[in-house]
Every structure is written in structure tokens, then in C-alpha cells.
Symmetry: D3
Subunit: 139 residues, 6 copies
């Protein structure tokens, strides 16, 4: 009986901006710098979904990777890929589209469905650029 | 007397869409698929600028990398980073913001100025995603 | 009128061995070392297909990346992925499954069909491991 | 007195398949998809071994990296590299050669010997492809 | 109220050697091998600084990445980049410049200042080469 | 009869500085910036050696990769790894240890011996950092 963690890497490319409607344009630029560009900017996001569980002797795994990949596509990358994170995604409405908030929102979208395919969601890791990434463990 | 090629890697993050104003919405989606999303999408672009020349014995180089990096920043990454390639960039006006066209436009912006710092532009290589890149050699 | 090169990266995972039926077991191990293991070994192959052409003003490209990716999948990665290169692949029969020969064979499979989607095949680059790769330009 | 974690990255290339002898061919393909190809497939596996300990003032380390690398080579990469994981490896007999099970088996092979060179094994991380990896912490 | 971890990646290139003044030359080479070369060797170090905190609704983050990057530059990469770790860096004096010790020293330099910009330092991860890295969590 | 190019990737870690003895300290810092630090700095160099030839039907290759790797180790990485490029390497004496010059010098060291193992040297590609590399084709 051994507890293992399996991670699946996926991608999506999206536009967004950081902008707080309650603030003046001046304050938005002061707080968010070039991320506040009104005409948007964008990223190639890289998403790592880590799931934990105990492998079954008959298969050698606890969650079928194809099922996991398929679930991530349906719930996350189809809704986010080639989209505008501020305008096009129901589960990101009414929040800043910061990498931190997007990672938390992805956790909420996946946590229940991952139980149904046989694992427990352990971590969402989201790269916004090669030099910056966020991790969320559901705490 | 040896001819060497030196390459500098830089980054910019931008929004764009593929859209032809002369076509119907239907035809745009048919031709460009999800790249035609009206609300934009975006990428972390990675740019490789290759310059050729003959190193001088006194320095061991023919182009100062700091000068090259500075030139790329002023002419390319400052105008493109955290911008909308379709709306915000004078030298990309009136063309599709395809990776192919952006690479050609970057070549034109850099080719004369690189001569002034002591090298000859050899190649612009532009990654739009991890899986797709374009090269342009000025031919 | 500008000639650009576009490259698409794809993957396949396969088993193979280097073995010459005309030679003794001893000579096979002498020539191919651990690559001659009779029970096979395998690799995650990474394939880069580079195509050249002149972008059209209306689209900004000369070959639709979706069509290129689809062609590579049908002709190359579907037949090779999760297969044994020595046993399972008709177009690799009767040759050593060296990285060099596989790259040449992939060129032959793709060169005519790439013309049909609007480009000219320029290079097949095939990584067998992170540290070794082969390029073939059709010469 | 500071507890640090040091990680060493190694590689091995191997063939395998997922197959349960108790099941019909049909059920094997249903469960394992293309991973059940009877003629095998293979991967470039990347292995990360993480060891923890308290560095000694005289050397600045607690485990000599050369000794760690040598141990991993003798116990793991020599037995697995250019081998068939289902057929050639005594410590993988009688189990599915899933990435999960291979990671657990590598832990068992290393955990005692790493104590002898001055550290405590903390994690085995095993990449099967660029997009999938497994971690095991001995729990 | 969600606890997230954000990581910033930075770089510095430096010379160093492993050498214990109390030991003979012979013992130094025995213990440190080629790392004891009296004329130094060097590395491209890659540094990952992970900070944890609870994002604020108004901004979507808890620590401004620009402030974090700026702090790392002032406290760590400016003092270390293009320097000799044994000779040029006040906060590395009187210790072995092992990757383990450098990671611990970087933690001590950053831990208090990161509190001032709104986060808690969680981990220093330092790559000395592509194949070796150290992590320190302040324990 | 097909001409293929095979590339082998190797590594070495070394110290160096850029410094012209004929110039004042002031001029050295003006020309070379932080690369002129008298106490040295260093890099993880990544070397790509590309060799061309026509594969033989019996083996599927024209140069044995083990022989190529062995040659590079004896002629290049053993003399350069964990060394000071300005002080320790006979074939780099009396020149600037710029990435350009080191690449040219590596070409000269390898070009004749590669003929003896069955190929023609085509390119030396040398990364000094992740963001800068040099290519030399013997022209």
C-alpha cells in the first residue's frame, strides 16, 4: 500500500489584463504596471495537475491518465485555451485574472471530478511565464 | 579570420488574434479556427536574433552582446511586450499578426541598426508556442 | 515576397533495437553495444518538421498549422507512437531503425503530401534522446 | 544546523508494455489502450532522486554527489538502461511496469543504501514522458 | 481565504571552488575531486525563490512580483552575478561555497525582507547544474 | 545515398574572465563590464557538435555515437570541465576566452579527428548561458 503522486502537464494560451474597475486608470497602472494595458496582453500558460492515490495491483495505477487528461481538457483547457480570461470564462468572472486566482479557480473546478476518476487532487501548479509560477494545495 | 554566428534570446508576452476584415465572421472562423476569437488570446513569444561577423582579436567578439540586447529591447521587446499585436504596434499595422509576419517585421526593424553595432543580421527565429516556431533569413 | 520556414514539433514513444541479422550475436553487441539488447529498449522521440514557403497576405501564412499537424499525425505519429519500430511499421521494414534511417524514412513519407498543403519540406529533425539528434534535408 | 534537500537527475531509456496476464487481450486493450501493444513501446525515463540531511561545516555537504550518482548508476540506471522493464529487471518482476510501480520499486532499491552514504531518501520523481511524472515519498 | 505559493526564477553566473584551508592539497582533491581546482571553475546558477501568502481580492496577489524580483536582484543576484563566491561576497565568507551552503545563505539574506513586501519565504531552490539542485525550507 | 547530420550534446563547467592585458583596468571594465571581474566568474557551457555523413546500410549510421562522444570527452570536455579557460587550457592560450573564440578553438581541436571516425565536422554550437550561444561552421 503505497501513496503516489501523479502529475499531468497541459497547456493553454490566453489573453488577459490586470485591472480593478473601482480604481482610476492612474492607480491601475501604478499597481499593475504594463499588465494593465487596456488592449490586453497574453501568455502561454502551462498547467500541472497533481493527483494522489494508491495504485491497484491489477493496473499499476489509481487514476487512468487518459481519463485525467480528458477531464482537464473538458473542464479547464477547452474553456481557457485561445480565450480572454477576463471576458470569456464563466468560472473566472468577478475576480482579478492573476495567476494566483486562476490557479485557485482551476482547483475548485477540478477537485470534485478528480475524486470520481479515482484520485485526490493534491496541487495545481500554473506557469504564467517561464520565470513565474503559482502553486495551490487547497489550503 | 573566422565567421561566427551569435544568437541572443529575448521574450515578450502579447495578445493578438487572426482576423481578416474583408471576410465574414464565418469565413474567419473557418480559416483561423480558435485563433479568430474576437476577444483575443495571447502568447509568451520567444525571440532568437542571430547575427554574424568576424571576431576582433582584441575583444574576442564582433558585436557587444550588451549593445545587441539593448537594441532588441528598444526596437522590439519594449514595443511588443504586454501589448496587443493588432492594435498597439505601429510596425505591425495593416497586416495579419501571424507568427510568420511578425518575424518578417522584426527583421525589417532590426536589419539596419544591427549593421551599426558591427554585425549582419542572419536570422529571426520566433516561437509562438513551445510547439511552433518560424525562421526568417531575409530572403 | 518573403520566404519563411515554419517548424512543428511532435512526439512519439517507441521501442526498437539495433540488430543486423547477417551478423553473429557477438558482432551485433560489439557494433551496437547495449542498443542490441534482444528484448528491446525504447525512447521518447521528438520530431521537428520544417516547411518553407511564402506567406499569403490574406492569411499571414502559407501552410495551415492545423493541416500540417494533422498530416504529421496521420502519416507519422499514429503509425509510430507506442509501436515497435522494427516490427510494427511498414515504411521502416528492412532497414536498421537507427535515428538516421528513421529521419530519412519520415522525410520520404511526408515530402509529397506537404506540397499538397502548400509548402516545401525543408528539414526533418529527430531527437532520440535529449543528447542526440539527427537532421535530414533531403540531399 | 540546517536541513537541506539535494536532488540528482539521471536518465534511462527502456522498453515496456502494460499487460495483465489474467485478462483477455480485449480487456487489456480496453484498460491500457496503446500502452498494451504486444510488441512493446518505450520511453526516455528521467529520474530525480532527492535526499535530505544536514551539511557538515568542513565540506559544505552531507552526501557526496559523486557517491550518490555512483549508487544510482549501480542500483538503478545500469539495471534499467536499454532494457525491457517487463523482462530484464529482477526487481520489477511480477508487477505492472507502470510509472507508479517503477518509482516505488526504485525507492525500495535505494532507501537503505542512501543511509550508508550519509543521507535520507526523501523522494523519487520519475518522468515517463515530458507530460507525465510520478512522485513517491515512501509513505 | 486561500494560501498560495508563488515562485520567481532568477539567474547568476559565478566562479567558485571547494577547498578546506585546514586540509592538505591531497586531502582537498580526495574529498572534492575536480571541484578543488585551484584556478576555480564556475556555473550558471538558477535560483527559484518561493513565497507564500493569501491573495488580496483587490489585486489578486499578496506580493507584487516586480517588488519580489527587485528585492532578489538587490540582495542576491547583484552581489553574486559575475562574481567569485569564495572571494567577492561578504555573506558567503568563512564557509564552503557548496550549493547547499549558498542556498542556506540566500535564505538568511531574504527571509526578513520578504516579510516587508507581504509574503513569507517558503523555499530556496538552487540549481548548480542542470543535473543537481538543492532546496532549503528554513528548517 | 542520403546525407544526414547528427548532433551530440555535451557539457562543461568552467571559470573565465574577459580581459585585455594591453588595456588599462578602466578600459577593460568599460569594454567588458562585469565580465572583467578580476576574481573570475563562470558558466555551465553546453556544447553541440554536429557531424555530417552518409549512413551505411549495415549499421544505419556513419559515425558511431559512442566514438564521437568519447572523442569529444578526450579532446574537449576533459580539458575544459572544472577548469579556468584563461589559465588551464593549452589550446586557449593567448586569446580572449569569449564564447566566439572558444567555439572556434573547439572546431580546430576536433575537425581532423572527426574525419578519422567517419564523419565531417559541420558545426560547433556553444551556449555560454541560456540566452546566448555561438555557432561556427569552419568558414
Amino acid at each position: 500500500m503505497a501513496l503516489v503522486y501523479i502529475t499531468r502537464k497541459e497547456h493553454f494560451n490566453a489573453a488577459h489584463k490586470l485591472w480593478n474597475e473601482k480604481w482610476s486608470e492612474e492607480k491601475n497602472f501604478e499597481m499593475f504596471g504594463k499588465c494593465a494595458n487596456p488592449n490586453w496582453h497574453g501568455h502561454n500558460y502551462t498547467l500541472f495537475v497533481t493527483v494522489k492515490g494508491i495504485p491497484e495491483p491489477e493496473t499499476g495505477y489509481f487514476v487512468n491518465l487518459k481519463a485525467l487528461s480528458s477531464l482537464i481538457r473538458i473542464k479547464i483547457t477547452d474553456p481557457l485555451d485561445h480565450k480572454n480570461l477576463n471576458l470569456d470564462v464563466p468560472f473566472l468572472k468577478n475576480m482579478q485574472s492573476s495567476c494566483e486566482n486562476v490557479a485557485i479557480a482551476i482547483w475548485k473546478e477540478l477537485v470534485d471530478d478528480i475524486k470520481k476518476i479515482g484520485g485526490d487532487l493534491h496541487c495545481i501548479k500554473l506557469y504564467e511565464t517561464e520565470n513565474n509560477y503559482v502553486e495551490y494545495f487547497g489550503e
